[in-house]
Each structure stands twice: as C-alpha cells, then as structure tokens.
Amino acid sequence: MTLPSGFSRLATGLLPAGGQRSRRAVGATIAIGGTIVGLIALVGLLSLVWTPYDPGAIDPTSRLQTSSAAHWLGTDKFGRDVLSLIMAGSRTTLVVGIVAVGVAAVVGVPLGIMSAMTTRWWGEAVMRANDLLLAFPALLLAIMLTAVHGQGVVTAMVAIGIASIPSFARVVRSGAIGVMKTEYVLAARAAGRRPLAIAFRHVLPNVMSLVIVQASVSFAIAVLAEAALSYLGLGAPPGTPSWGRMLQEGQELLFVAPRLEVYPGIAIALAVLGLNLLGDGLRDRFDPRLRDRR
C-alpha cells in the first residue's frame, strides 16, 4: 500500500520548516493572543469609569431592542444595555480568573517544588493527594463549596482556584525535578546554600516559564468555569454583571432574541481563544529547543 501522493506534502507543510519560520509563527501567536487579552483587560478597566449606560439600570420602556445607534448591541428583557453589560461582565471574568489562578499558583507552585526537592515520603504523599484532587471536576467542587458557603463570586473563584491547584503542582514538580538534577543546584549545595534558598533562588526562577504558561492556560479554563458556574446559578448572583449570567438570562428568549446569547457567547469564546493562543505561544517561546535559535 502506498500513501497518497499529497501525504508527504501535507506532512512537511505541518512541520515547521526551520527555526526562523516557526519562530515568526510563535511571535504572531503571542501577538494575536496578547492583543485579544489586552483588549479585554482594557475594556474591563474602561468599564470601571465609563460604560455607555449604567449596566444595572433597568428601563422597561426600551426592552429587547435590536441593535441601534443608541444601543449598539441592543437591550435585554429588562431594558439593560447589552454592550454595557458585556463591558462590565469582563471585570467579573478577569477578577475571577486572576484570583483563581492566583490561588492555584500560590498553593500549587510551592507544593510542586517541595515535592520535587524532598525524597521523603510526604513528597510522594502530596502528589497522590494532588491526583485525588485532580479527579474532582471544578464544577463538582464549586457545587460542594456553594452548598457550604452559599452562592457568590468569591465561592466560585476559590472553587475554580482549588480545582486548578493540581495542574500547577504537576507541571512545576516535573520542571523542578529537572532543575534539581542540574549541576548548578549541586553547585549551590556545594556552596553551602540551604534548601529554602535553593528553592527561591535557583528552582523557582527556572520553572517560572512553566508557571507563566500554566497560568494563561488555567486562566482560560477559569473563564469557562466561571461562565458555566454563573450559568448554573452557582457563580455571580443576580445583579452582578457576568457573561455566564447573561447566557442564563437570555436562555428563555433564545428564539425571540438569539443575540442575547450570541454576544456574551462571542465574548467568552474570544477571551478563551486569546488566552489559549497566548499560552500556546508562550510555551513555544519558552521551549528550550526553540530558545537557543535566537
């Protein structure tokens, strides 16, 4: 059996032809992802000082309007301006993402480094507990936490954060094990450096690229998780602008005013796309196989 003649051409087309070209592609990926994420962050900041309308202002006289000069993206069933809601909703998305990733990194990174640096039993125990946590979906964790602490953005953030700990711990541990085997760590020990100092001065800076990549990937997952939680009524409470909430509120009018689903949906998709592009690009940029071809 022979392969179709186009196969090899396809295969060579998929593989990077050389460092030069792939690096340019990596640069473009980072630039596009970074621009999208930057725009969302900018919109979020802008919404703090200015939105076209007060995102919470209910106006029964202008319900369910389609796009117009006054309301660019129309209004929802309460007469609220959709553009203003999306702008304000980006804030919730960003805050949830930042706090969730922060919680995950602050707990996960030290756990990963510690378990890589020790040869004692508890290093292994930490990773097995980690596996256990990995088995819990973020949503299940959020439902449990909500049952205990009640609905709220804080509960959602913490739940998503806790659920993201294992991926940080895993990635950092594998990176840190590699760093611990290097001669400069041996040299640092030979110079009389204590373990804590080695962790901070030598291990942490050298796994930082992994942490940054993982942060952007986890951020994207957090955005999705927040939308899902709010949609299920476990995240942002009524009155808090949130993309997931908008999806839920527009659901019953899906056939009357599908744009109420489309616009927040596009916002969520765009945010996740931007973060994933950024994460992929950064991973390739930090890839040691590409790094030396500067």
Partner: protein, 326 residues
C-alpha cells in the same frame, strides 16, 4: 609543619547491600595538589561527593572524613548535621564541576552568582562589597571587561568563560581545599591549559590543598604532586606522580599508563588497551577487584591483596606487582 586539610580514613559507601567505595584512605595537606585517577565508574566522583557531604540520601557513608578549614576549624563530615555541612561547603571546601554549561544558574547574572557565595558565608560586609569583590574576582580569572561580564547571563558567555566564572566562585571564599571534578574535560584543548593554569595559580596563591579528579593522565602529570589510582571503589595505588607514572607497580596503573601512551604500540602495531570494560557496581570480583581484566591474575588474586607501602600516601595493593628491572 605540614597540616592536613583533608583526612579520609577507611571510607566505605554503600547502597543497600552494595558496596560502592571500599576502605578509601586519602589525605591532602595545605598547599598540596593530589590527583585522583581511574576509569569512569571507579568511584572518583563518589569520593568527591562524600567529602562534600553531598551523597544522595540512599547512599550510606561509613568511616571518617575530616576537613580542617581556616583557623583550624574541624568538620567531621560523616554524620555531621546539615547545618555544619552547609557552613563547611563553599567556605572550607569548594568544588569546580565538570560541565560549565550547566554549573551556572541560567536565570541569574554571573556577578550575582559569584557574590552569592560570599554573602552566604558573610565573608564580605555587605551587598555592595560583595558585588565589587565579584568584579575583582572575575578580573582575576581573566575575563575581559569584568564589570560587563558580571552583568551577563551565563548563556552570553562561552564555555571557557563560564568555567572561569565557576573557578571564581570556587575561589571566592579562599577555601582551604578545592575539589576539581574533571574541570577541563568539557573544554577545548587550548582553553583547558588556560583554565588549569588559572586553577593552579589560584590554589597556590591561597596555599590551599587541591584534590583533582580526572581520567586525563597528562593533566595530572602537569598539575599534581601526588596521585591516587582508583579502581572498583578502592584505592589500588598511591604515590608521587613521577614515581607512579614512571614506575607503576599495580597492574591496573600499568594498564592505564600504557593505554594513555599514544607512542607505545604492541608488537602487532596496535595501541595498548586494558582488556574488557569496567564492570557495573556490584559486579566487581571478590579479592582483587581487577583480576577479571588482569593478564597476570592467578588463583592467589582471589584473596584480597594487602596494602604494600609505608602508608596511605605511598603504596599499592597487588599480588603480582610490576617488577622494575634495576
């Protein structure tokens, strides 16, 4: 009066039932340069790590290792608390590693890495003094434009330059003992000589002792005064470099020297080699560890050959030593 900076007595290292080092005796005096030679897997690096107290946790050392630092401060390495070891490492004993590419932290400026070792042991009063002293040291090891080099990251330097930085770090605290683990193996031949010269001058200026690990006999001949030959985790021969190299007594030493002499050929015109290869740990024969590769081995060699010599500084352990014709 001569003063031992390093005294190793009856060092054994084992992992589980497996013995990796057996009865290693070794002394280095102030101002003395001692070579440790042998093939890969003969226990040279393990000896160095034992002295630093840096053995992996699974390996258990037995015996006695005493390091005497500045002001007669003794450290009994085997069984020492981690705190005492940390105080010794980088201060009384420092180490130059084989691979200059990986011996420096890629995320730290080299000046900071030189300054760090002085800050750890507080041999300089403050951060600023450490930075100034780092530049001074980088100048001493011959880096062009040391102030600029101090601000560079390791990847901006060549292999030889990096090894110079590693030497600067090793000499920063004026150690009593410098351990070099194949410091020039990864370097170009032309750079090798420069780095060796640098190390020797650095050690001489400080009147420090040096333990030089290598499998390059020519390097030992040019750098060291005394040499120990290791095989199978044992010291098989020791003596002054000139004596050992011109009149080897142990059959293994003879083989090593024969194999490294590229002018010497057998009757069939081929270079001399030691037949076979180094067994993996635990596969060495009982009795004389070399007997399965030795052309002179007899049944006598199934018994452990006794140490034949005045002391650990000079002697050999072989049942059938090379007899020198007068």
């Amino acid at each position: 009066m001569s003063q031992d900076v390093l005294r190793v007595d009856g060092l054994h290292v084992q992992v589980g039932e497996l013995e990796l080092l057996t009865d290693v005796d070794l002394t280095v005096q102030r101002g003395e340069r001692v070579g440790l030679i042998g093939e890969s897997g003969s226990g040279k690096s393990l000896t160095a790590l034992s002295i630093m107290g840096l053995l992996p946790e699974a390996l258990e050392p037995r015996g006695s290792i005493t390091v005497t630092g500045e002001g007669g401060r003794h450290t009994q390495v085997v069984g020492a608390a981690e705190r005492d070891l940390a105080a010794m490492r980088g201060r009384d004993v420092t180490m130059v590693f084989q691979e200059p590419m990986t011996a420096l932290n890629p995320t730290m400026r080299v000046g900071d890495q030189v300054a760090e070792v002085m800050r750890i042991h507080r041999t300089v009063p403050d951060r600023r003094a450490a930075a100034a002293r780092a530049v001074e040291l980088l100048d001493k090891v011959g880096l062009p434009d040391p102030a600029e080099a101090a601000r560079a990251y390791p990847h901006q330097l060549s292999g030889g330059q990096r090894q110079r930085v590693v030497v600067a770090i090793a000499l920063a605290n004026d150690p009593a003992l410098l351990i070099c683990d194949e410091p020039t193996t990864a370097l170009d031949v032309t750079v090798q000589a420069l780095v060796l010269d640098l190390v020797v001058r650095g050690v001489e200026a400080r009147d420090a002792g040096m333990l030089f690990i290598t499998h390059d006999l020519a390097v030992v001949a040019s750098v060291c005064e005394r040499v120990l030959v290791m095989y199978g985790g044992r010291v098989v021969e020791a003596g002054a470099v000139h004596d050992v190299f011109t009149r080897p007594r142990h059959r293994y030493t003879r083989g090593l020297i024969g194999a490294s002499d590229l002018d010497l050929t057998r009757e069939d015109g081929r270079l001399y080699t030691i037949q076979g290869s180094v067994p993996s740990a635990g596969r060495f024969p009982a009795g004389c560890v070399f007997r399965n590769r030795c052309t002179h081995a007899t049944t006598l060699c199934e018994g452990l050959p006794p140490w034949d010599g005045a002391g650990p500084e000079d002697g050999f352990a072989c049942h059938h030593p090379v007899v020198v014709k007068p």
